[in-house]
């Protein structure tokens, strides 16, 4: 229902009055290294998100461990789990209530395309969160490992700042 152009159009008319060259880069660097996710665990991926936030995988190394319950204080929505039709209105409301520099990570197959719950004649699951609002990073997996979530965060940071801070792991 929203095409990339209309999203870019929406983004452009949210842009601030005053724009700087160097300051925006610094702002982007600051934002990239302090992404505050919204506690929005829906299903199995939420447990992997909690594991990523806990001691072994520890996304506080990337500044993202502060899980804000209120959408007003969060700038990153990690949709971790299945969005079903009864929940779609609430998800859109939460997306609206987040202040502007906001990004969305679709974590897990359910958030990307409805995942294992898509079959002819299915009546309850929204097949993909990008049907509701634009998504910045997709993390496949069912559930994706915490390392995949960290790679998703790095991909989002790369999208923000333009350069990749951590070496990319080459699968041998």
């Amino acid at each position: 229902m929203e095409t990339p152009e209309s999203n870019a159009q929406l983004l452009s008319d949210c842009a601030p009055y005053v724009k700087f060259a160097k300051l925006d880069e610094m702002l982007a660097l600051g934002r990239a290294n302090s992404l505050w996710p919204l506690t929005f665990g829906l299903a199995c991926c939420a447990i992997e998100m909690m594991a990523a936030g806990a001691s072994r995988f520890d996304i506080s190394r990337f500044g993202a461990e502060v899980f804000r319950p209120s959408p007003r204080q969060a700038d990153l929505m990690i949709v971790a789990g299945t969005v079903n039709k009864k929940m779609a209105a609430a998800v859109k409301t939460l997306y609206d209530q987040m202040p502007e520099p906001k990004w969305v990570i679709a974590m897990g197959n359910c958030a990307i395309s409805g995942g294992p719950f898509v079959f002819p004649g299915q009546y309850a699951v929204v097949e993909g969160v990008d049907k509701l609002f634009p998504v910045d990073v997709f993390i496949p997996g069912c559930p994706p490992r915490p390392e995949a979530l960290i790679e998703g965060l790095l991909k989002l940071e790369e999208k923000l700042t333009g350069k990749r801070r951590w070496p990319t792991v080459k699968p041998e």
Binding site: T39, I47, E48, A54, N84, P116, Y123, P143
Partner: protein, 376 residues
Amino acid sequence: MLVKDAIVSNGTPNETFTLNLGPQHPATHGVLRVKMTMDGEYIVRAEPVCGYIHRMQEKMGENRTYAQFLPNTSRIDYLSAMTYTHGFVGAVERALKLQVPPRAEYMRVITSELNRISSHLVWWGAFLLDLGGFTPLLYAFDDREKILDLLEGITGSRLTYSYFRIGGLYNDVDDQFLKGTREFVTQMRPRLKMYRSLVTDNIILRKRLIDIGPVSPEMCRKYGATGPVIRGSGVPYDVRRVEPYSVYSEFDFVIPTFPETDSMARYLVRMEEMAQSLRIIEQALDKLPAGPVMAEKVPRVLKLPAGDYCYATEAARGRFAVRIVSDGKEIPYRVKLRTPSLSNLSLFEEASAGMLLPDALALMGSLDLVIPDIDR
């Protein structure tokens, strides 16, 4: 509404307002919504609204064969996925009268109990998070990662295993897993002692949990609540002991029961269950027989004889039962999943009337809910 309007608002003397403990809330650990009518800090009526994560599990049971439904079973309650797969696979084996080799039965018990400990650790971390303490979550997930490494070694996945197959197991167990499990058991016991001194004996936790949310045995029976909820009310009901399935009857373990019926009792039941699970794992490791892990002649296309078959297992949250109604074809006619969280939550409305809001959240945390387990 301006201030001057507020004064003239014709509020009735006993004014209550409706608060949405909505789908997105840190204390509900999932998308459970509780519509609470509040009088100040006291709850007049708390009505849970479910369905925000309904994923059509039972509808999918009717359009895929028995083997295809296995991945679904570990996504109903992803924290004790083994016992759910065990329930479904057990029902099919019961219908086909398949004889599962003893090594597979023992491995099923070992992995189920490991899964129960990892589920209780997630509950423990999240419950303390509800009560305000963040550190226990880090301790709990640190230990849980050790279990996940063990289970990932043999099943290949961290959470949604579907490790059991109809008639046995997916693959045999290497001795790296066996050695790792023994090491885990020996290093987990002092950790449990540390948890007792770090948290269980903490005066703040005791003040927050003792005499909070009493659930009488009669209320448990009326609502069908099972698992740590009914064992916290003094009734020693445990499917592993009352309707022994698999090889549980060969192990000697205690069903922890606390008669105080409050949240502290439910808390202590789960902490004690972790210790009991360690005992079961140890005994199962000692008596693990050699041999195949898959029954010999498992028919390629499974056609259950007509009729309905039930199988109940003891999941981390309580009694999980599967009812398969078959009409002789290879696709089940109806798959009914009786999940414990639905019954455990159904008593929340009656148990939380008149409580303070923070106490009601402590009660809900002590019920240990997994919301996709309710909505299926």
